[in-house]
């Protein structure tokens, strides 16, 4: 079921993770400080960042990207070859 960004935001973290894992399309991943993994997903018509502390295997956030300007950050990283998968 397609959700808008606002509808997605109605849900708590556990539900958001379920939604992203079920309906999201994984795009790219970044690693931060050797502790955090940030995965970018395309979900319906917006993007979601999953913040995971991979040392304790815990997802901390699953928030929508605030705007397309943040998307370019990922692409820039990709272009610059910065810690991408």
């Amino acid at each position: 079921m397609r959700l808008s960004k606002e509808e997605y935001c109605m849900f708590n973290l556990a539900s958001r993770i379920k939604i992203v894992e079920s309906d999201g399309i994984f795009l790219v991943k970044r690693v931060l400080n050797n502790t955090y993994e940030i995965k970018l997903f395309r979900l319906y018509d917006f993007y979601v960042e999953l913040y995971c502390n991979y040392r304790v295997n815990k997802i901390l956030k699953a928030d929508p990207l605030k705007g397309k300007q943040w998307l370019s950050k990922f692409y820039m990283d990709l272009i610059n070859g910065f810690n991408f998968c």
Partner: protein
């Protein structure tokens, strides 16, 4: 014949109909259950259960299972002693845990129903009054009936109408010490909630107000420690009592009564009948309950509640996205999708079963019959995917069934008084999915626009509603001062594509007394209330009915040999529904239909009408005797004795005449005689007929007024007046006595009524009529004259069942002893 209280009959008809349609009284085939999937006897495959009230899925928790097993191992399968004597130790532990959960004082009861039965009679006496919310759970009504029988004043108010509640409090506080408002925390059909903040405000304003809440469906799902919806919003008020269930989300069976003070709890614990004389909760339930209570007091419960809440949110979104008519947006796990007619609801449920989803029928008496719907519940065990797929299937089948039944979605929204979304309206216009009929419909508002011969050929000889009879009724029941004496007439003739009549009838829209078909004892009480409140329109409703309040007989011509008869009936029902809306009537009624017509029964039930009993009617045919003795010889041996003794022996005391060239005084005398009879009988409780009718009958060529006067040697009054009169309508084949009047000063000595009945039959014979329609009432008496008893029924559809429930709630004990 004594009328039965209609509500039990209606409930039986509706629920039995559901069972016949394989959507109720189902059975599981599973040997083991471990989740929300079931095998059901009427489903072709495994289904996901969307009908469970175990909202947190705790029944499968290993700790609860083990708690039950340990308790059985420790205590056996039961501890068979009243709590008045000995309770096993689990009770003390459990009640202590509940005191923590509710932050109040608790008494464990075997079930929530027994909780009500144990609590209400202890706390409420005849110096108190009870106001029940219309949709409060039936188990509360059950307990309230116990105190009603002891004289406690009780009334019903419309659902969640706090404005009406306040008005009633203002009035009742003058007379009663305590006023108990009884409501559910979470309502079990629509999933809406009690307006607790507003009720608390009223409690703060009116010290007489007490709040009694059944929060069975709120338990565990809401509030700190799962204390429920009500106590999750507010701490327990000093004038509040709460009963809740352990058989839903709590997952163990049993009930709890919660009190603001130790004294109140102790009083109920000591005196409550279900705590003294009923069996206790058994060890297995108690062991599981202790385990469940500990989970409720742990951090775990919050997470479970969150999960459930997320599922509820997801469901609300899915319903919105798939465009289903959700009756009220739910913050609870109960959802109700409108379907309107029972046949539509049952069809959708059946299809869902075949698709792998079990959902409930939301049906009368839980909701008004025309407000049937699909009720489903969401638990923590459902996944988002299961929810979405179920909602998608429901949306699909909902649309398909409406299309099959040629029932526009706008009618569903109308039935529930909901605003139809604009997109759906547009889609309906574009798709133009209403089938065009082959039938032609003539609809007139006066009989003068109907061909007399055609009308009389279809309906002229069924009763007093031939063309001339209806013209008189139209003249008599219009332009009167009182609302109840102004009827709106509609005439319908439906023909097939070659002009053959398939259906013909006439409709009247008029004010009826809601207790008309109730037992006399009930009508007595309702009339007393009308006098007391000086409100003659208390418990009255405007109804659109076939026939009228004055006519009797088979008002509905239907050519059952025609292939179009059901379509014609549907058109009639649609017409009645549109008149109902136009005239703001509360219901529609088809009356005087034959008992035992299963095909008609099924059709009308499918279309949202429920059957109610009517008094039997009577007719005499075979009027081919020529002397009194011949007449008597046609009767049974016992009846002959009665007729000779009570009728024939008195014939010579009477002068019989047909009224001619009458004066106003004579008409007034007839009206007086009519009122004598009217004021004595509540068998069919109706409004008084207008005087104008009697004046019109006096002048009408197709009416006779039969007058019975005593001969001068028996009536020594200065002016001899009739001691009985009968207003009779005369059609080609029938003689229809419609109104009778008696002077009761002479009744005992001269048996005026019995003589009048005989003279009517005799007059019919003289006029060579084939049938005398003797109508309702006095069944035993009429049978003595050889009258045949005809059982008839009525079918009704009501916008809501509020009035029916108010009438049904009139003191049952008095009804039984009447």
């Amino acid at each position: 014949m004594k009328k039965t209280t209609p509500s039990v009959d209606i409930v039986f008809e509706v629920l039995n109909y559901g069972a016949k349609n394989d959507v109720m009284h189902l059975n599981t085939l599973n040997t083991k259950l471990n989740g929300n999937k079931l095998y059901l006897d009427k489903a072709s495959k495994e289904v996901i259960n969307f009908g469970s009230c175990s909202y947190l899925g705790l029944e499968f928790d290993e700790r609860l299972r083990q708690g039950a097993i340990n308790a059985i191992n420790n205590y056996g399968t039961q501890f068979s002693s009243s709590r008045a004597y000995v309770s096993i130790s689990y009770y003390e532990e459990l009640e202590a845990l509940f005191n923590q959960i509710f932050d109040a004082y608790s008494v464990v009861t075997p079930t929530s129903t027994l909780g009500h039965i144990g609590t209400i009679p202890v706390l409420i006496d005849d110096k108190d009054a009870i106001i029940l919310d219309h949709q409060v759970h039936n188990s509360v009504h059950t307990a309230v009936n116990l105190v009603k029988a002891k004289g406690v004043y009780t009334e019903l108010i419309r659902h969640n109408r706090i404005d009406i509640l306040e008005d009633r409090i203002k009035e009742l506080r003058q007379k009663y010490n305590k006023i108990w408002y009884m409501a559910d925390g979470v309502y079990s059909m629509y999933g809406d909630v009690t307006p607790i903040n507003e009720v608390y405000e009223l409690m703060n304003k009116y010290p007489e107000l007490y709040y009694y809440v059944d929060d069975a469906h709120g338990m565990s799902c809401f509030g700190k420690h799962g204390r429920g919806y009500a106590l999750g919003q507010k701490p327990i008020h000093e004038r509040m009592v709460l009963i809740t269930s352990l058989a839903k989300a709590f997952a163990t069976g049993g009930g709890v009564a919660v009190f603001p003070t130790k004294e109140m709890a102790h009083r109920v614990r000591t005196c409550g009948s279900s705590l003294v004389t009923s069996g206790p909760m058994q060890p297995s339930g108690l062991g599981a309950a202790v385990a469940s209570a500990k989970i409720h007091l742990s951090n775990e419960l919050g997470k479970m509640q969150d999960q459930l809440n997320e599922n509820i949110k997801y469901t609300n979104l899915a319903i919105k996205k798939y465009g289903l008519p959700l009756v009220s947006e739910s913050k609870t796990p109960i959802f109700f999708i409108g379907a309107s007619l029972p046949k539509i609801g049952y069809s959708i449920i059946s299809r869902m079963l075949n698709d792998g989803y079990y959902v409930n029928a939301g049906i009368f008496p839980g909701v008004p019959i025309k407000n049937t719907g699909i009720r489903f519940t969401i638990t923590k065990l459902h996944t988002f995917s299961e929810i979405e797929k179920m909602v998608a299937a429901l949306a699909y089948h909902h649309a398909e069934v409406l299309k099959e039944e040629n029932f526009p979605i706008s009618k569903v929204y109308q039935a529930f008084k909901m605003k139809e979304p604009v997109e759906q309206k547009l889609e309906a216009i574009i798709s133009g999915n209403e089938k065009i009929s082959d039938l032609s419909v003539q609809n007139e508002s006066s009989i003068i626009n109907i061909d007399k011969n055609e009308w009389n050929s279809l309906l002229g000889n069924r009763g007093s509603f031939d063309w001339d009879g209806l013209k008189l009724l139209e003249e008599s029941f219009s332009n009167n001062e009182k609302a109840e004496n102004n009827w709106i007439f509609d005439y319908l003739i439906i023909k097939d594509n070659i002009g053959r009549p398939v259906l013909a009838t006439f409709l009247t829209t008029s004010v009826w007394k809601d207790d008309m078909l109730s037992p006399e004892a009930v009508s007595e009480q309702v009339e007393a209330k009308r006098k007391l409140t000086n409100d003659p329109y208390y418990l009255t409703s405007k109804l659109v009915s076939i026939g009228s309040l004055l006519t009797e007989g088979d008002h509905l011509y239907v050519d059952r040999a025609s292939t179009y008869w059901k379509e014609a009936l549907r058109i009639l029902l649609d017409k009645m529904a549109s008149l109902q809306e136009k005239h703001k009537a509360t219901g529609t009624l088809l009356r005087d239909l034959k008992q035992g017509d299963d095909e008609m029964d099924a059709f009308l039930m499918d279309n949202g009408l429920f059957k109610i009993g009517m008094p039997v009617t009577h007719l005499i045919d075979g009027l081919d005797w020529t002397t009194k003795e011949e007449f008597v010889s046609t009767l049974s041996t016992r009846s002959r004795r009665h007729i000779r003794r009570d009728v024939m022996d008195y014939i010579d005391k009477y002068d019989i005449a047909i009224a001619k060239n009458v004066t106003s005084d004579e008409i007034e005398n007839w009206y007086e005689l009519y009122m004598n009879v009217k004021s004595k009988s509540l068998l069919l409780n109706t409004f008084n007929l207008p005087f104008k009718l009697f004046r019109n009958m006096a002048d009408a060529p197709n009416w006779e007024i039969l007058l019975l006067s005593l001969k001068p040697e028996y009536d020594t009054r200065e002016v001899r007046k009739p001691v009985a009169m009968v207003c009779c309508n005369v059609t080609e084949d029938c003689y229809n006595p419609m109104i009778v009047g008696i002077d009761y000063n002479y009744q005992d000595e001269f048996k005026c009524y019995k003589q009048a009945v005989y003279q009517v039959i005799e007059r019919a014979r003289i006029l060579n009529k084939k049938v005398v329609n003797l109508g309702f009432s006095a069944s035993v008496e009429k049978q003595k004259y050889g009258a045949k008893v005809i059982e008839v029924v009525a079918y009704m559809q009501s916008q809501d069942n509020f009035s029916l429930e108010v009438v049904s709630s009139v003191n049952v004990l008095e009804t039984i002893t009447a």
